[in-house]
């Protein structure tokens, strides 16, 4: 492992470590971002107002003959 600390190599090792750390942070943020977006979509769907339905009732029409009988 000592070759990693060699002055000619150390700068590349440091760059690689910093890059891996950033990619890890980025992946973590990306995952939270996607989860948040999904959760918000579900909550929006749940809390969206219900579609209004007609409140009329159907009744058989009483004809003149039926009223007389």
């Amino acid at each position: 492992m000592n070759f990693l600390l060699d002055p000619a190599v150390a700068i590349y090792v440091a760059a690689a470590v910093a890059l891996v750390v950033w990619l890890g942070v980025f992946a973590f943020l990306w995952r939270i971002d996607q989860t948040t977006r999904e959760l918000r979509r579900k909550l929006d769907e749940e809390t969206s107002p219900p579609v209004p339905t007609p409140r009329a009732t159907l009744e058989p029409r009483r004809t003149q003959a039926a009223r007389e009988s």
Binding site: Y12, A18, W22, L43, E46
Partner: protein, 328 residues
């Protein structure tokens, strides 16, 4: 789905690639700085994080003011999120600064005015979060913390920009970016006022003489606590008026320069050359530095918007849970 929503993931991916490029450039494109070696690269991280800190706390204060005006919970969420992101960037600036201090000054923490002021800033915003967590009632918590946040924001420019520059003694290389802040050096006279202070060191001008084409100052340097006492002899080329020999301060990478000299009157202008001074005169360093500023700004916007979204969602979930728990 709006155009902004469609473009947001692409912008975030671009930001990831952009900052990855900055990280690579910081190590492989930015050249070593004379006197600092590889340690100079930390400036690419340290300064942008410090600048984003001030931007974040300003954004937080604006949202707090908006909350006090309109009483919208979303504004409060944005204020908290921006303050949290600012706090994170402030910690990053402090840590990277401490690493720089260890390499250049030989200690992680020196109670330098810059270090002390950033610590006070961190404590002020830590108190903001403590205040929020101490109040259970949401409306009161939002109102009080918004008012506190405005006061905290007032102290921020003073602590970041003013205090470290008016302090008599600072080792922080302000001259790298802003000329004139404690960069003018001190004038000593071998026959008059001969003792002065530059950074943390005390200088005593023992003599000023001409040797051939050079003015030579004999300066006794005492480090803090008189731990070390050494005599340095910076020189000035009289024909060109430029400093020639710049001896190094004991145990530090700072150089002592004789910038002006009047051998007849014994008057000398002595200055400290801190590592980092003139760092951005290299174009590769400058462009990487600018790219880092842009990248960190994008990262801050993403972070605080995401955190504000999470806070709003938390509140909506809590409200829903409360509704479901109501007796039938």
């Amino acid at each position: 789905m709006g155009a902004v929503s469609r473009l947001a993931p692409i912008a975030k991916l671009l930001l990831g690639v952009w900052l990855a490029g900055v990280v690579v450039a910081m190590f492989l494109v930015v050249p070593q700085y004379v006197g600092l070696g590889d340690a100079g690269r930390i400036i690419i991280m340290h300064v942008p994080t410090a600048w984003i800190t001030t931007a974040a706390f300003t954004v937080s204060a604006v949202y707090s003011a908006l909350y006090l005006w309109r009483r919208s919970p979303a504004h409060d969420a944005n204020a908290v999120a921006a303050a949290e992101a600012g706090f994170l960037f402030c910690v990053l600036a402090t840590v990277t600064g401490s690493i720089f201090a260890q390499i250049v000054w030989g200690t992680f923490w020196n109670w330098d005015p810059r270090e002390t002021s950033i610590l006070v800033l961190l404590l002020i915003y830590a108190a903001y979060f403590a205040l929020r967590s101490a109040i259970d009632e949401p409306l009161r918590r939002r109102r009080l913390s918004a008012a506190y946040n405005l006061f905290a924001a007032v102290t921020m420019p003073f602590l970041v920009f003013v205090a470290p520059r008016v302090a008599e003694s600072s080792l922080h290389p302000n001259c790298a970016f802003i000329q004139g802040s404690k960069c003018e050096g001190i004038v000593l006279n071998a026959g008059g006022i001969k003792i002065g202070q530059l950074g943390d060191v005390i200088l005593e001008l023992k003599g000023l003489e001409q040797r051939d084409d050079f003015a030579v100052a004999t300066v006794e340097v005492r480090t803090p606590g008189l731990a070390e006492r050494i005599t340095l002899q910076p020189t000035l080329e009289l024909a060109s008026g430029r400093p020639a020999d710049r001896p190094e301060f004991p145990g530090q990478q700072f150089l002592l320069a004789l910038e002006e000299a009047d051998v007849a009157t014994g008057e000398a202008l002595l200055n400290i050359e801190a590592p980092g001074t003139g760092l951005l005169s290299n174009s590769r360093t400058l462009w990487t530095f600018m790219a880092a500023n842009l990248g960190f700004l994008g990262l801050f916007i993403w972070l605080y918007r995401l955190r504000a979204d999470v806070l709003v969602l938390q509140e909506r979930l809590a409200e829903r849970r409360g509704t479901y728990e109501l007796p039938a």
